[in-house]
Assembly symmetry: C2
Homo-oligomer: 338 residues x 2
């Protein structure tokens, strides 16, 4: 019955370990084929899972008495804090005791941990962090959103493959359309990186490259996978949050200006709530770290139990969809030197 | 009385020449100290200005019987079409017959025209196109938004100076806060370009550098000048449009879902209108092309008469505020090799 074993960094995130355990129990109730290994302080976790009921038998505990904090230097922490919950959960995947790993801890540390403790899929040069975001016609993937600030064209070509595999295997998009972020749709547009990447993407045969994606078109839904380097991806991701917040506060100001619009806004409340839900990208779980030798999901640091449960479901879908294997298979179509 | 002479590319833009002439007449009525030189086909323009009334005496015509279209190769057009309205208007500035130039024509051609026909301010290596955008606490400048896709740190240091001078002299910001677009606020963050630029910006003494600006903070209003290379600037600019549009269409969908919210949306209409006006960056005129030897304003291609009038007002304020002179003066504080 226990087809999918998922290791959980029970001490990562703002609401750890309570939200982690709560999310784990929720996921175990949802999926009978899942087993969860909680990495963290044994006694504390034992007490928390005592009330798990019938799913208790599918919970294991990996003793880990250190925690990697938000102030820790990522590289250093991952090297030194070998008994931390994050490293221990990652090592469970490395050693085959789990297939996937979920953490809501420090993003920097998780990237370092994935590289150092789990390792890259041979042929993938840079793993990428890739959230799925809401768009007009449905969700789309932004890859890379910050793992790699200085990129070479071949990294981006590989991002395209990883994003395509994910959207197909996990999000159910039949033949994902992959676009390259650029400042124009024409072939000759862009900076050096974009121009060289365009040529290489056009030459590969592993996925459906649909050309340049102007930033204006990103949320339109015409691309399922939007490829960019981690610097620009991070800008796009954070600007999305910033602009959405700024627009909402400016709209609120406009709506509070008169009694009529105030009343209107009151009536609109269910609509605004629905809209907010649509814009909430945490609904799709966390951001997968693609390109490492296992299914790794970065949940948001502020994740509550439900978000953790979503991230675990996502890790399970990555295992079910054989994401790592399919990335490996797709590498041959990228061309010799990519 | 005619302190400020502004050359207008009367044939550039979707609604040329009518909107251009209409904007010119509006501006002349608004400002008694302005004279406008319209570059375009003499007979056609003469007919259009016949009804200008008393401001007719402050309109000159620069005969130009060619037009640079949106499909023309920018560099080639600017070189070959010497009798085009854009080149002729630019040459009026070059030869001192006008102090400023306004065009709603092709952005690429205007950039090439500014570089080739007008020339850079000595010491400025790359002119930049820099729109002023709406933010929560007021307008802010994005520099560069697309003129330079591959940048060196010293270009960005100069962008900071030009943006600071503009926001102070034209937008009336006392001591503009200049930020560098980056993926974190900490000093050591970013890609190679951002890291090197940070050091150089910190070392200069011509303007107030306030550190890294995370994309999330861009619309918050904590920075008056947001510096980035033209590739990222173009992404930010176009993503702003795309995301705003996408959000509004998703919100509309949410509001049209029930009778109650539909009624609410109806009552909210004046508020939505007000909001839309706040978000409309054309209200601040066009985007100045900074770093060339004259005040050059790029108006939006779709500009109507009012937008053209705004752009002319803006060109006038650039002359009044001595933007070019002040950029020249500020160069000494950037350090030897910048």
């Amino acid at each position: 019955m226990e087809k999918y074993v998922i290791a959980l960094d029970a001490m990562g995130g703002d609401h750890a370990p309570d939200a982690m355990v709560q999310g784990a129990i929720g996921a175990l109730r949802q999926f009978e084929d899942v087993r969860i290994e909680l990495a963290g302080p044994e006694d504390r976790l034992k007490a928390l899972v005592a009330s798990a009921g019938e799913v208790r038998s599918r919970i294991g505990i990996i003793p880990a008495d250190e925690v990697i904090g938000m102030d820790d230097s990522p590289m250093l922490a991952v090297r030194k804090k070998i008994r931390s919950s994050m490293v221990q959960a990652m090592l469970a995947v490395r050693e085959g005791r789990a297939g996937a790993m979920v953490s809501a801890g420090s993003t920097g540390a998780l990237l370092a941990c994935g590289m150092l403790r789990l390792g890259r899929i041979p042929g993938i040069e840079r793993p990428a962090l890739a959230p799925v975001l809401p768009g007009v016609k449905g969700p789309w993937m932004l890859i890379d959103c910050g793992a790699n600030v200085d990129c070479q064209p071949k990294y981006l070509v590989q991002f395209g493959l990883m994003g395509s595999v994910y959207m197909k295997s996990v999000m159910g998009v039949a033949d994902p359309r992959v676009g390259l972020v650029n400042i124009g749709t024409e072939v000759e547009k862009g900076n050096r990186l974009a121009k060289e990447t365009y040529e290489k993407m056009r030459a590969q045969t592993s996925y459906r490259f649909c050309g340049n994606c102007e930033a204006r078109e990103i949320p339109s839904g015409d691309f399922d996978v939007v490829v960019t380097d981690g610097f620009d991806g991070n800008i796009i991701l954070k600007y999305t949050e910033g602009l959405a917040g700024a627009m909402m506060s400016m709209l609120k100001e406009s709506l509070m200006a008169s009694a009529g619009t105030k009343l209107g806004a009151l009536l609109c409340k269910p609509g605004f709530r629905d809209f907010k839900k649509k814009m909430d990208y945490n609904a799709y779980g966390g951001a997968p770290l693609l390109g490492v030798e296992g299914a790794v999901v970065k949940a948001h640091g502020s994740s509550g139990g439900e978000a953790v449960q979503n991230a675990i479901r996502q890790a399970r879908t990555m295992l079910e969809g054989r994401v790592v294997e399919k990335i490996r298979e797709g590498l041959s179509g990228l061309g010799g030197e990519n």
